[in-house]
C-alpha cells in the first residue's frame, strides 16, 4: 500500500509567470513517505511546494496527484505564518475551523462534529488552550501549532508544510517536529516538509529533495545527506 505513488512530476518547470526558477523537475513521492525539501534561500523550495499544491501552475511538463480509493487526494497545507495578515480578528479556533470548508459546501453551516474535530486537532498539536485566543497575538511557535492543527483538520492524505520551524526557538521546534513524527508513525501520513535546516530534515525525514543550483537531487536521507555527499555538494557550491 505504502509503495503506491502519490505524486509524480515529469520534466516539470516551475516559476512565476515567465520567470522559470526550476527548469526541469522530475521526481515522485510514495504514499506514507516523509520527505524533506531542502535548499538555500531563493532556491525555489516554496515555489515548488506551491506548484505541487496547485497554487502556481506548472510552466511545462506533467504533474500528477494519483487518486486514493478513486478520489483526488486531500492536501493539508501549512503556510509560512508571516503570509497571514494579522489584521484579521480571528480566534485560533476560527483559524482551525477554516479547514472544514473543504468538506462543508457553500452556504452550509459547520456542524458540531466539525467543531469537535477542530478542537481535537488543536489538542493533538498541544494548542487546546489557545483556542479562544486571538491568532494575531500568539507567539511564533504558538501560531505554528495552530496552523499545523488547521492543516490536520483538513483530514489530509498529503501534508505539505512550508518552513514550519523557521524563526522559532529550539523547544518549539522540537515540539512541532515531535507532533509530525507521531502523526507519521501512527497514520503513515505522507509528509513533504520544506526547510532550510539540514539537521531537522536529517533527524526526522526518510527522504530528501535537495534544490541546488537549479538542479533537483532526490534520494534517501542516508545517502544524500551523508557527510561525503554534503561535502561534495558544498564544495561544488563554493567553486
Amino acid at each position: 500500500m505504502t509503495d503506491e505513488l502519490l505524486l509524480s512530476l515529469d520534466h516539470v518547470a516551475v516559476g512565476y509567470g515567465r520567470r522559470v526558477i526550476l527548469p526541469d523537475v522530475s521526481l515522485s513521492l510514495r504514499r506514507g513517505s516523509f520527505t524533506g525539501l531542502l535548499g538555500a534561500n531563493g532556491s525555489g523550495k516554496s515555489t515548488l511546494l506551491k506548484t505541487v499544491l496547485g497554487i502556481l501552475p506548472s510552466l511545462q511538463g506533467r504533474m500528477a496527484l494519483n487518486p486514493i480509493d478513486g478520489r483526488t487526494p486531500v492536501l493539508g497545507y501549512m503556510p509560512q505564518r508571516e503570509s497571514l495578515d494579522p489584521i484579521y480578528p480571528l480566534s485560533s479556533f476560527e483559524v482551525v475551523l477554516m479547514a472544514a470548508c473543504g468538506r462543508v459546501g457553500p452556504g452550509r453551516f459547520i456542524n458540531k462534529s466539525e467543531h469537535g474535530f477542530a478542537r481535537q486537532c488543536l489538542a493533538e498539536t498541544g494548542a487546546a488552550d489557545l483556542a479562544a485566543k486571538p491568532f494575531s497575538q500568539l507567539s511564533g511557535g504558538q501560531k505554528q501549532r495552530v496552523l499545523m492543527a488547521r492543516a490536520l483538520a483538513t483530514r489530509p492524505d498529503f501534508l505539505l508544510l512550508d518552513e514550519p520551524t523557521a524563526g522559532i526557538d529550539a523547544h518549539a521546534t522540537q515540539a512541532i517536529m515531535g507532533v509530525l513524527k507521531t502523526i507519521h508513525a501512527q497514520r503513515r501520513q505522507t509528509i513533504l516538509l520544506v526547510s532550510h535546516d539540514l539537521t531537522t530534515v536529517r533527524q526526522y525525514a526518510a527522504d530528501v529533495i535537495w534544490l541546488h543550483g537549479g538542479k533537483v537531487l532526490h534520494g534517501a536521507v542516508s545517502e544524500l545527506l551523508s557527510r561525503d555527499k554534503i561535502e561534495e555538494l558544498l564544495d561544488l557550491e563554493f567553486r
Binding site: 503570509s83 484579521y88 473543504g102 483538513t154
Partner: protein, 294 residues
C-alpha cells in the same frame, strides 16, 4: 425626549429618511468589514465617488436627450448609472490589486480625483439635475419615497443574506487565498461575488445618502469595531451595531438642531471613534500597570 416622541409618532413626515439612514448604518459596515480586512480602505474612498460620477453621468445623458425622460424614473436611472460605474471599477481595481503591479494607492487616488472632477463637470452641464445632485452630494436625506425605501431595503436584505450564508467562503478567500485553492475553492468566483456585493451596496448607499456618508459608514464603524472584536462574529456585529446606533442618534441630533443628516452622522462617528480609541488605550494602560504591580 420631545424629539424622540416626534420621530416615533406614526405620522412623522421623515419616517422613510430615518429608515434609510438605519439601513445604511446597519448594512454598510458589514460590507466595509471586508474593505478593512483586505486593506482596501482607499477603495472605500474612491468607489462612492465613482458611484456619484455614474449618477451624474446618467442624469447628463438624460439632459442631453440621449436617453428619454420618463416620469418618476430618476431613482432607477441613478441606480443604473451608479451600478454600471461602480461594479466594473471595483472588479478592475481588485484585479489590479491582486496582481500587485504598480502603485495601488496611485491608481485609487487617480480614480478618486477623476471621478470627483467629472461629477462636477457633468453636474454643471446639467441644470435639470443640479439641485437634486447637490443635495445628494451634501448628504441630505430628506425626500425618500416608499418605492426608493423598498428598493434599498430589498437590495440590502439580499446583500446581508448572501454575506451571512457565504461568510465562511468570503473569509477563507480573503484570509488565506492559497489555502482556499488547496481546498478546491473557486477563488475568482468568490472574490467576484464579494466585490459585486460591495459595489452594489456602495451604489445603493450613495444613491440614498451620498458619497460622504456612504464612505463614513463603510469604514468608520468597522475601524471602531476592530478595537474590540476578538473574533469575526464580534467584529461584524459590533461594526453593524455601531453603524445602526450612530445613524439613529445622528438623525435625532440633526433633526433637533436642524443640521444636514449625513454630515451629522459622520461627525458623530468621528466622536465615537475618538472616545473608543481613548477608552481602549486607557484600558491597555491600566492592564499594563496591573501586570507590572503584580
Amino acid at each position: 425626549m420631545d424629539t424622540l416622541r416626534e420621530i416615533f409618532s406614526p405620522d412623522f413626515l421623515l419616517r422613510n429618511s430615518i429608515y434609510i439612514s438605519l439601513l445604511v448604518g446597519l448594512v454598510c459596515p458589514l460590507v466595509g468589514v471586508y474593505l478593512i480586512l483586505r486593506r482596501l480602505i482607499f477603495m472605500g474612498v474612491a468607489l462612492p465617488q465613482i458611484s456619484s460620477c455614474g449618477i451624474a453621468f446618467a442624469f447628463a445623458l438624460q439632459a442631453w436627450g440621449i436617453i428619454p425622460h420618463i416620469h418618476e424614473s430618476e431613482h432607477s436611472l441613478a441606480f443604473i448609472g451608479s451600478t454600471l460605474f461602480t461594479i466594473p471599477t471595483i472588479l478592475l481595481l481588485s484585479l489590479l490589486v491582486r496582481r500587485g503591479s504598480g502603485s495601488v494607492e496611485g491608481r485609487l487616488g487617480t480614480v478618486y480625483v477623476l471621478a470627483g472632477a467629472w461629477s462636477i463637470l457633468l453636474l454643471v452641464t446639467n441644470p435639470l439635475g443640479e439641485h437634486g445632485l447637490l443635495d445628494m452630494l451634501k448628504g441630505e436625506i430628506i425626500a425618500v419615497s416608499d418605492a426608493d425605501l423598498a428598493g434599498t431595503a430589498a437590495t440590502f436584505g439580499a446583500v446581508v443574506l448572501i454575506i451571512f450564508f457565504f461568510r465562511k467562503e468570503f473569509l477563507l478567500v480573503s484570509f488565506d487565498r492559497d489555502m482556499a485553492i488547496t481546498l478546491k475553492k473557486n477563488v475568482i468566483f468568490w472574490d467576484a461575488l464579494l466585490f459585486l456585493l460591495i459595489g452594489l451596496t456602495i451604489s445603493m448607499a450613495v444613491l440614498s445618502v451620498g458619497p460622504l456618508v456612504a464612505f463614513g459608514f463603510l469604514l468608520m464603524p468597522p475601524l471602531i469595531a476592530h478595537l474590540f472584536g476578538r473574533n469575526m462574529r464580534q467584529f461584524a456585529l459590533i461594526a453593524s451595531g455601531i453603524g445602526g446606533c450612530s445613524a439613529f442618534v445622528g438623525f435625532c441630533v440633526a433633526y433637533r438642531l436642524d443640521y444636514p443628516v449625513g454630515p451629522t452622522d459622520v461627525a458623530l462617528l468621528g466622536v465615537v471613534y475618538f472616545l473608543c480609541f481613548a477608552a481602549k488605550k486607557l484600558w491597555l494602560l491600566c492592564r499594563h500597570e496591573a501586570v507590572q504591580q503584580s
